[in-house]
Subunit: 229 residues, 2 copies
């Protein structure tokens, strides 16, 4: 059986190392290959999943087959908490983006920790508050911006989180996959391709071998804030 | 000074009556007239607001003037918890829909209660989980449905929450205000008016003096589920 430590899980960081060891023993451990589904939206499970290694993506596939991507969970994160909390069906599916090592905890144990460990409850409240804020932002973008503008805003968001090169220019790495950006801002792959070409033609971004270099962050910021009103 | 009891506030329902009395004394109390602003999105406050009487609406006005309505807080509810939790700026504005009696609590006291009272922390977790689920649903609607379809889905949602007449037909009361529905599903007043006329022409709804009567809930459900995929 695969087992590992939960020491890198932010939600549990204020527990004693011995408490985390005990919890690690009570979890089921499993590896998922890149592309493999971890939660099926149709499933009846209520478990919580800790991403010990790798990256996972929360997505909804509409009945018409459209993919709406909601969130990426990176190493040290978790998902599946909504169904564990309220007992209602899964709100979305989750799939492994890269190979993942995941610890699965029963909803009963998860709720027990929240009730007994104030620090965990507090971290979970912050996480849910951040999710509400991110969702609100996206609802406002979807309600007020056109698709082109949403793609520009998403590139800006990634640029602001990216590392910078020695000249201080953001380096978005790896190069954004068109289909991924499309699913993230609810548009088509073609629109993403068109907006990126347009940004390149204007000298705002440049496609490198394995990264998108943002040459003029200031102009990108002005474009995005202009269209927001 | 106006004061009243917090006994009707669901978040605090598992506290002792004496604890609620003590908290009521520590709140600031105020009445707001219908249409008056309670939270300005630009403000620096971090207080939490309990709606003891009346109804409030959480909205964002985009810089271009478009109103995106996010949630309605009814009697016994609360708002303002995000900024109190994470200390970040307000995510939205809140205005009184009807005359409101509101108790305002400092963020310090709110956080103290959450830390010390497990039942309150748990209720707050459920509330935030419900907000995440509702936001996710709206993001998927905005990403996959056209504006007409979103209006139909909103009428269906209200029909399913409405009381029914003796023949079991949902009575949506008061009649939905076009501008309100528009702001709720991110479209124009004109689109809402058009969709409602269309539903009336097909015999699915009927406008009464002070209510919208849903004559054929089954057909409305089929229309909404057809377009979802």
């Amino acid at each position: 059986m695969v087992t590992d430590s939960l020491d890198g899980i932010a939600l549990l960081e204020e527990l004693d190392p011995s408490q985390r060891q005990e919890l690690a023993r009570l979890c089921r451990w499993r590896r998922y290959a890149a592309g493999e589904q971890i939660i099926d939206r149709q499933s009846e499970t209520r478990d919580v999943f800790f991403v010990v290694r790798g990256q996972a993506r929360v997505v909804i596939y509409s009945a018409s087959g459209r993919e709406v991507s909601l969130d990426d969970i990176t190493e040290g994160g978790f998902f599946g908490e909504l169904a564990a909390l309220d007992g209602a069906p899964r709100s979305a599916s989750v799939m492994a983006v890269s190979e993942c090592l995941v610890a699965t905890m029963s909803p009963e144990l998860f709720l027990k920790i929240i009730r007994e460990q104030g620090s965990v409850a507090m971290q979970l409240l912050w996480r849910l508050a951040a999710m509400v804020r991110a969702s609100t932002e996206r609802i406002v973008d979807l309600s007020t911006l056109g698709a082109n503008n949403r793609v520009q805003a998403e590139i800006l968001r990634r640029a602001l989180e990216a590392r910078t090169d020695p000249e201080g220019r953001p380096v978005i790495q790896p190069i954004p996959v068109h289909g991924e950006v499309a699913s993230r801002v609810s548009t088509t792959r073609e629109t993403v391709a068109r907006v990126l070409s347009d940004l390149a033609r204007r000298g705002i971004v440049r496609r490198e071998r394995d990264a998108l270099l943002v040459l003029d962050l200031g102009r990108l910021e002005v474009m995005v804030s202009d269209m927001a009103g």
